[in-house]
Amino acid sequence: MGEVIVITSGKGGVGKTTATANIGAGLAMRGYKVALVDADIGLRNLDVVLGLENRIVYDLVDVAHGHCRLKQALIKDKRFDGLYLLPAAQTKDKTAVKPEQMKEICHQLKEEFDYVIIDCPAGIEQGFKNAIAGAEKAIVVTTPEVSAVRDADRVIGLLEAADLREPKLIINRLRPRMVKQGEMMNIDDILDILAVDLLGVIPEDEQIIVTTNKGEPVVQDQRSRSGEAFRNVARRILGEEVPLMDLERNGNLFARLRKIIGLG
């Protein structure tokens, strides 16, 4: 029996979908069977982030309405053994699925997969309620900005009210250099405010843009910092104790040069 985890944030654009894709791929890389569910009906994107957009036949709404069997709608990711996607519908709206139906789908997936990871839509309305309906655990993604942290706080409150206790936090797009200059909130600032456990910190990384352009999860890029951070997140989900990576390592070229010649 697997575990159902919802990835949410409240605010849009903080990296929920990217996190979902990479955590899923990261878990699959470790040999687990993972189903990714795009719960953002009407605005599906997990398919393009994963590069699977051309293979969609059926979607979540088709499954919910019995137009197809669950297995028919699941797309197998050929690059990662054990990774599957259940895409959202693009032409329907959020009311096309009811929380009860989501619960049932999660329940079925849980029997087949080790991890069921749900990509929640932004906002706190019906789409959010659907996405969390079948979840047993929650991950909240935020960025080090006032608006994103505020929304994360609101979502944590709503999750706890829905009995999804102790959600774990991912801080995305941290810029170590700005943190050092005091121009960006640091990890402790954010944890202090939100009072939740940290699951991981993903540094801002241009490589994410490059890999997302190609529809490839950055987690398989052994050289990128964000890929390493996502691999660490996957390992922590599996229960391993992984220390936070040194975010200051591999600064810019000058920092590295200074280090080499002994000025750093």
Partner: protein, 92 residues
């Protein structure tokens, strides 16, 4: 040159401190969920309770949440017109 030195020594807080402080304040309000309706309800009940003991100017009544350095205070400014004399005896 002077301008440069001034800038160097000006103690303006780093922007993350500003962000933190703003967040703290906004979250106090968000978490307390103090909507105008809630504040009005609170006001009405306050009036009821206080009116048992004293005559107050309801129009001049002000109830706000004051967020200062590191705490939130419920601040009520209630103009008192007259204190009722009979209260002490009546309540015992």
């Amino acid at each position: 040159m002077l301008d440069f030195l001034m800038r160097l020594f000006r103690q303006s807080p780093a922007s993350k401190e500003i962000a933190k402080e703003r967040l703290r304040l906004v979250l106090v309000h968000d978490r307390a969920n103090v909507s105008p309706e809630l504040l009005k309800l609170l006001k009405d009940e306050l009036v009821q309770v206080i009116s048992r003991y004293m005559e107050i100017d309801e129009k001049g009544l002000e109830v706000t949440l004051d967020t200062s350095e590191n705490m939130v205070a419920l601040v009520a400014s209630i103009p008192v017109r007259r204190i009722k004399r009979a209260v002490k005896a009546a309540s015992v």
